[in-house]
Subunit: 202 residues, 2 copies
DNA sequence: GTCTATATATCGATAGAC
DNA sequence: GTCTATCGATATATAGAC
C-alpha cells in the first residue's frame, strides 16, 4: 500500500533515513550526493523525491530524530531514579545515558555534532534550541548540587560544558569491538564527571 | 617582486591562507568555493592557481600549519618548565597550552577537528600521524604520573582522551569578548585535568 | 512509486591575452 | 600575477512515461 511522501511509516523512507544517516555521518552532508544515498537504498535519485522534498529535508529529519532520541534517552534514565534522587545520582544517570548514547549510536551523535551548519537557517535554529535545552538540563543538575553543597565547582558553566564535551568525544573514538564495553566506558565517565564536580576548594 | 607559486613568503599567498582558513572553519571545506575565497582576497578564482595547485592543497597547507603550531605551542610550554619538572607540572603546562591554543586560535582548532575528512588520503594519513603524536605526548605524561604514584586513573587512555576532548571543546564555545578570559579558562581546565588524574581509588 | 531524460546551476580547473 | 572566457564534471531538482 503506497504511502504519502515523508510519512514516518514508510519502509522505503526508513531505508532512506538509515542510508542518509550513515553517509552524512561518515562523509559529511555536502560530500554525500542524492545519487549515493539512492544507490545504497537500491533506487534512483529521482525516486527519493517521492519520500522527501529535498536533500536538506532528509538531513533535518535524521538530525531531529537523533536529537529527540538523545533527549528521550536522558529522560528515561532520570525517570528510573524516581522523584527523590539527589544531584549525585542525577549526574551519574545523566552522564551514563549521555555516554551510552554517544557510544552505542555514534553515527547519530557524530551527525548532530558535525552537520548542524548544513541545515537551513530555520532548521538550525530549532536544532540549537534543542541542544540548549539538553545542555541546560545538565546545568540545572549541577546548580542543584552546588546549592546543596554536594558539588564544588569553580564555574558551573565550564563544568557543564566540560562534562558534556568529554562525553560527546566518546562518539569519535569508541568502537563496538574495542577494548572497553559501553558499560565500562559509561562507568568511567561517571567517575570523571563526579571528579569534575568535586573540585578542591583550596 | 613576484614569487614562485606556493612560496611561504608571498603576501598574496598569506592572504589566501587566512581567507581559506576562515571559510573552511566557518562553512566547511565543501561549502567553500574557490570563487568565495578569491573574492575575500580581492582577486578572481583563476588567480588562486598562481599560488596553490588545487583547492585541496590550500586545505592541506592551512591544516598542516595549524597542527604544527599546536605542537610548537606545546613544546614551548613544556620547555619553559625545565628538565626537572614532574608529571603534575607537565600536565598543567600541557593543558594550559592546549586550552590556550583552542581559545585564542579557535578557527585553526575547529578546522583541524572538523575538516580532516576532506583531505586527500595521503595528506589525511600525515594529519592523523601528527594528531597521534600529539595525543601520545599527553598519554606519556599521564603514564609517568601513574608510574610515580602522583596520579590515579582507572584507565590512562580514557583519561588522556577525556582531557584532550574537553579542552578541544573550548574552541566551540569560547568568545574573545565573553565572560571569561583565556587565562581564566586555561586555569579552570588545569584544575579539571588534575581532578581527572586524581580519581579516588575506592 | 519507480524509471529515463533533462533543466539549471555551480563547481574545480585550464587556456591564453595582457 | 591578474584577468576573461570556458571546459567538463557533477550537483539538486523537475517532467512525464509507465
Amino acid at each position: 500500500m503506497p504511502q504519502a511522501p515523508s510519512k514516518a511509516g514508510s519502509a522505503t523512507a526508513d531505508e532512506i533515513r538509515q542510508a542518509a544517516l550513515e553517509q552524512f555521518a561518515q562523509s559529511g552532508y555536502d560530500a554525500s550526493s542524492m545519487r549515493d544515498i539512492a544507490a545504497s537504498v537500491g533506487i534512483k535519485a529521482a525516486s527519493l523525491y517521492n519520500h522527501f522534498d529535498s536533500k536538506e529535508e532528509i538531513l533535518w529529519d535524521v538530525t531531529r530524530s537523533a536529537m529527540s532520541d538523545l533527549a528521550a534517552n536522558r529522560d528515561e534514565a532520570l525517570a528510573r531514579l524516581g522523584p527523590g534522587a539527589g544531584p549525585r545520582a542525577q549526574l551519574a544517570a545523566f552522564v551514563s545515558a549521555h555516554v551510552g548514547f554517544h557510544a552505542e549510536r555514534r553515527h547519530q551523535a557524530v551527525l548532530v555534532n558535525s552537520q548542524l551548519g548544513s541545515l537551513s537557517q530555520s532548521h538550525r535554529r530549532k536544532a540549537v534550541a534543542l541542544r540548549d535545552e539538553y545542555e541546560n538540563s545538565l546545568r540545572m543538575i549541577i546548580d542543584a548540587g552546588v546549592a546543596s553543597g554536594e558539588f564544588n565547582v569553580f564555574d558551573a558553566q565550564v563544568a557543564t560544558l566540560a562534562i558534556l564535551q568529554m562525553g560527546t568525544g566518546v562518539s569519535v573514538w569508541f568502537r563496538p569491538d574495542g577494548r572497553l564495553s559501553i558499560d565500562q566506558v559509561g562507568a568511567q565517565y561517571v567517575k570523571l564527571a563526579l571528579a569534575v564536580v568535586s573540585q578542591q576548594v583550596r
